[in-house]
Symmetry: C2
Subunit: 243 residues, 2 copies
């Protein structure tokens, strides 16, 4: 290896800097990560703002989010990995339709996963910390059902559900529950508003919360699982109206 030429000195003046001709559009890296886009699309798909069967057009989404098509393609790849869309070569991506068998598969999973969440939450939090939820489900939630104010009922139920998942402190579990929840969110709401369903559910949540206030994690899990099986039964009975 030939010796290097004598060293350059640090004090040499910097070469004059000529501005490169600007290439239109090639500016600083965009501030919108692909995650944000994935997240937003997930929510819209979950809430059926983008309907099942609907086609996702790359160019439209790129324009809407003001990002490159390449980024949209990556986001769509992520959504496909989550089972929210199906990509067909040369034809694009469509939002998955959930067929009935899929729903039942998901309900079996919800049973064990949400049961696990209830158990872990009971183990992780002091029993008295569930008192307020219990009181709410005994009193104000009962009144909501009687008044038929199901929107607010659902809101509180979903708060409880989220609280359980957070208290479970298992991020892998939380992620899995997210993955299935976003596929079934609209459906879960439809089940809750079935005749009599909200009151049955409320009573089941009361029983579970009572077990949690006793610190009985196994029982909380058992009751939460039973509650999900009960919801699955309601689905079986009313499936023709729901899907």
């Amino acid at each position: 290896m030939p010796a290097k030429p004598a060293s350059r000195t640090r004090s040499r003046p910097p070469a004059p800097r000529r501005p490169a001709p600007a290439r239109p559009g090639a500016g600083p890296r965009g501030s919108k990560g692909a995650h944000d886009i994935v997240e937003k699309l997930r929510v819209r798909i979950a809430q059926q703002q983008i309907a099942p069967g609907a086609k996702l057009r790359e160019t439209d989404l790129a324009a809407e989010f003001k990002v490159s098509r390449a980024r949209i393609r990556e986001a769509i790849a992520s959504l496909e990995s989550r089972g929210l869309v199906q990509r067909i070569p040369n034809r694009g991506a469509v939002v998955m339709r959930l067929d009935l068998s899929q729903v039942f598969y998901i309900y079996d999973l919800r049973e064990v996963l949400e049961g696990l969440a209830a158990r872990l939450a009971t183990q992780n939090e002091p029993p008295e910390s569930w008192r307020e939820d219990l009181d709410r489900h005994r009193g104000p939630m009962k009144a909501l059902v009687e008044r038929g104010d199901l929107d607010e009922y659902i809101e509180h139920y979903e708060q409880l559900r989220r609280r359980l998942i957070e208290a479970a402190r298992n991020p892998v579990l939380a992620e899995m529950l997210d993955t299935i929840y976003e596929k079934t969110q609209v459906l879960i709401r439809r089940i809750i508003i079935l005749p009599g369903r909200a009151e049955v559910g409320r009573q089941q949540h009361v029983a579970m919360l009572e077990a949690m206030c006793r610190g009985d994690a196994e029982e909380a899990e058992r009751l939460r699982r039973a509650s999900l099986r009960s919801a699955k039964s309601a689905l079986e009975r009313y499936q023709r109206y729901i899907l």
Copy 2:
């Protein structure tokens, strides 16, 4: 809207076709779907052929798989969605390291999910169909443990596990188990080869298979769950040697 001019006739000869100047590389659509690439990378990551912490370089992978960089980026987006890699803006993607807390989260999930698989498998298949597995775990598997032939033991254990998942007939469950299995595959093997662990596991599988041969789905689930908790305990005890 103005009337269209008189119709063209079908019998007009086709215009002479001039071949477009070939653009290097822009040929027919590649035959390798992004799925294949994702699948291959998943397996390699699961088996630690690509080590945790290792960097995935787009250009290298594009050259290796003979596809465009864009496709590799989409594959990496999918892998990230599955939690197998972490992408860092402007720095690339690295294979996730599994820290200890993650492992325990996963074990809690494995407990309930593999328990569910055992239950569904018991419900779905006639009891006598598990006889052969039971006989194998009673006899030949015991001999493998005694001889210390743990490679073959693990192979048969994994066959049983796969059989349970298939018999569960719940594709959403299978997908979830895949997702966590690919993160823990090497670790599971390490647990099995811990001192005495294989024989304990074998006995647990025998008990579960006995319940399945009786058609007792709840008991099969309970025993499978207990077996996973037992594996988690071994992990807790020997964690310093395993990770």
